[in-house]
Symmetry: C2
Subunit: 498 residues, 2 copies
């Protein structure tokens, strides 16, 4: 089976961190010695992108190898709005989408997800229905605590059934920020690795803890250890977890046969930026299609195959992780649809770099495109004035006239063009009359035309909400006597403010 | 002689770069493999500061171990104005100041400066009058070309005499950015190391190339090699030079007896930021007292003495390089004055970290102070509206209400307080009513009171300008037949716009 004549293990570490939160990417507190070491032992990808500036659509893209506009993880309720999967969401990952977990399962892999799923919380959308054999974690973010009246607390699953709820059974102190969840997620990962090593089975482990997502939490041993506050404590704990997981791979002799890939599902959010979270030199953060929203730290680690200390500028995305995994497993995806990923193996193993575009969507709108070092914005938007009056500003402290606009501004007729080499912060747009502009835009328009010609949008999953679909009675609740009664179904169009 | 029973060589690399221009500090193009390696083999100092947000005063502070307000490298012409040493400047480093080079010379060291001096260009101020035995470089920045009528071109010196002028004898192409000056500076350094190694003499080499200072230049082999334009080409060439210099120390067997210290004299300037120059997560740049203006990349390298791979958060400044050098040479400075540096040896050799303040001056005004992780701004100012209308904005793209102010704003009664751990970008000021604010400010006020009590300002050197003092007839011009006739003396108060 698989690639060459050995079977290759796959471990994807998806930690929500900004580009600048890694020591090796400039964070002045240098709190990620394990990730930094992982980069030194492997390849650091410096032009790596997520598929969307927020979590649900990015995760769906990672697992389907397709842009959210194709796999349905977007909304048409309003123009260019970010949607995701809160408890009220009716939709989720459609059965018609084929996940990397399903294809790997067919190829004989044992698959586990640890942490936040975020591809829909209703029974038909859960991970064990989509190719994963094991799951420890939750379907949604750990918002709360709720009173279980207007809103139920989010369930935590082990496998196909809930084993409790956040705040009730899995404590998160909103006062101190203490929770041992990340430690649970680490020990689940170590246990899974041990079991697969003992069984000699190929595996795919998708480690997706969510402690850097608000409300932030860390376990007692890490609380108060960072000079930048709770966010730094969380980063230190996640980094420590990465170190322990890689050490376990080594201890079990699996390291030379395992591709480990670390990245993030979106840039540091405004709320984490107030605690030292950083998108490095990049503009704005989560929720925006500026570089700070979608350019991600990325490290590929595979001792013996990936030469240590490499740096790559290959333009690449989370969707490439789908195609890369399939190539390593010798699995072939259905040929009836378009994929946005390509295999990263030529880059990882031979340092190859080829020209490719990256598309930046916000909801149903193609906001921007990058090709080579040029990025053109067709639309700009930070977030609306009404949100800003509540203190929400996804570009706080950054004000670039005509770029960080509070209204949705349509630049389609004369896109805002930046050179991300000499201007990684998207501050100095290139004059439309220059020959550089004309030459770059010709190529970018060509790339967009080709993208649009092949685009068949999926059925939008984020249009309808309904309080009746919340996590009132998740599978397994009856065994625990923990089922709640929800309200009558009353579907409504989800309001997406940004 | 000296420290312990061996003599210690000293090599200070002063390259004008922003904090975020190093690969290891997050620059996405990763163009500094030699500096990154130097950090991996030595100690990276993450809370290291220059003494002033621009070049002349910073360099004077490095060599005197004293703040510009003490050594005279400031102006009182207007309030809180940055001054430096252009050709018109009448002042320079006073004879009453004792430079590290003088003290090292008395201790038997052979001293050389390569590159930009910037402590005054009139004969009495030149390096060979202040303890250096050798010099190859120029007294001022390489602005030009001039027509030698209203303004003479800047002379290049070898020793105590000029050997030519920029643009005339030492070519810098303003069109292509080509110049081989950095290559000359590298070969001068290698030659000096070879000679001292052969003579078995202790030495102090102060390598201060200025290619990252506008107008930027690089040699042919580096032009066009960076993806971020000319600024990146320059960074690559300087980094390559550092690699060659360290390799030469190794080849001559001097590395284990040489303390090499790399830092910068100010943050990346606005003009370089348009070409990808970066101050990482820090606010604004050169000319300002925000972190982007004064927090500098810093690496200490001393194989066998400094353990590899260390990181230090010791608050420290360029003035510490004065005291550190003297301790290593066993030299003692005059006891009749205050020094602002302390020896870094406990930090470098034992990882010690102690609490110390950092003072941020702009001209004659103490704009801000840091102690621990707290920084209080007593005054804020980016630059004036009149300058901004000419396109000059030292905080371009950054707009933090009440912080990046276009007017000089006096916050003395209620200083703006930031926590640089959770808010390295100085975006979220701490509420004056909070107990955190009161506690932090108590300490900061105490530190400032103590600083003020011991402060005896020096005679300001940047108050008077005069076209007659320009580089019309530098020492040595007569031998070359290159003396120019200047105008009659007509002193005037120097206008300092920012």
């Amino acid at each position: 089976m698989g690639w060459g004549d050995v079977c290759i293990y796959l471990l994807y570490l998806l930690l929500q961190m900004g580009w600048g939160d890694l020591g090796i990417l400039g964070q002045p507190e240098k709190e990620t010695p394990n990730l930094d070491k992982m980069a030194a032992e492997g390849m650091l990808l410096l032009d790596f992108y997520t598929a969307n500036p927020l979590c649900s659509p990015s995760r769906a893209a990672l697992l389907t190898g397709r842009l959210p506009i194709r796999n349905g993880f977007y909304t048409t309720n309003d123009h260019a709005r970010n949607g995701y999967t809160p408890q009220e969401i009716v939709g989720g990952i459609p059965d018609s989408e084929v996940l990397v977990s399903e294809l790997l399962s067919q190829a004989g892999y044992r698959n586990k997800i640890i942490g936040k799923w975020h591809l829909g919380h209703r029974p038909q959308y859960l991970p064990l229905r989509h190719g994963f054999h094991e799951w420890f974690g939750a379907p949604n973010c750990h918002f709360g605590p709720y009173d279980n009246k207007a809103t139920p607390n989010i369930p935590v699953y082990n496998g196909s059934e809930m084993v409790g709820r956040y705040y009730e059974d899995f404590a998160i102190s909103r006062a101190s920020g203490e929770s041992n969840l990340t430690q649970l997620y680490v020990s689940e990962a170590l246990d899974f690795i041990d079991r697969q090593a003992a069984a000699g089975r190929p595996f795919f482990l998708y480690w997706a803890p969510d402690a850097t997502h608000g409300p932030l939490y860390a376990s007692r041993g890490f609380l108060g250890t960072s000079r930048r506050g709770l966010y730094g404590d969380v980063v230190r704990e996640l980094d420590d977890g990465v170190g322990r997981i890689l050490a376990r791979l080594r201890a079990r002799g699996l390291d030379t046969n395992t591709l480990v890939f670390f990245t993030s599902d979106n840039g540091a959010a405004m709320v984490s930026r107030t605690q030292g979270g950083s998108n490095g030199p990049f503009l704005c953060g989560k929720q925006t299609t500026f570089e700070g929203g979608m350019r991600e730290p990325a490290i590929a680690w595979w001792p013996s195959r990936i030469q240590p200390g490499q740096i790559s500028h290959q333009l690449s995305t989370v969707m490439d992780l789908f195609t890369t995994a399939l190539e390593l497993a010798g699995a072939v995806p259905p040929s009836d649809r378009v994929y946005d990923g390509t295999s990263l193996l030529p880059t990882l193993l031979n340092g190859t770099e080829v020209d490719r575009p990256v598309f930046y969507y916000r909801g149903d709108e193609l906001m921007a495109v990058r090709y080579g070092l040029y990025k053109a914005h067709f639309w700009t938007w930070t977030n609306g004035q009404d949100e800003r009056s509540k203190g929400i500003d996804f570009c706080r402290g950054e004000d670039i006239p005509g770029v960080t606009t509070m209204q949705q501004v349509n630049y389609t007729d004369s896109p805002l063009l930046f050179h991300l080499g000499r201007d990684p912060g998207e501050r100095y747009s290139i004059k439309p009359k220059s020959s550089e502009y004309k030459q770059a835009m010709r190529k970018l328009e060509e790339v967009v035309a080709s993208h649009r010609a092949g685009l068949l949008p999926g059925e939008p999953q984020f249009n309808m909400c309904d309080s009746a679909v919340m996590n009132w009675a998740p599978p397994g609740c009856e065994k625990l006597g923990r089922c709640l009664k929800g309200p009558e179904s009353k579907p409504y169009k989800c309001p997406w403010p940004h």
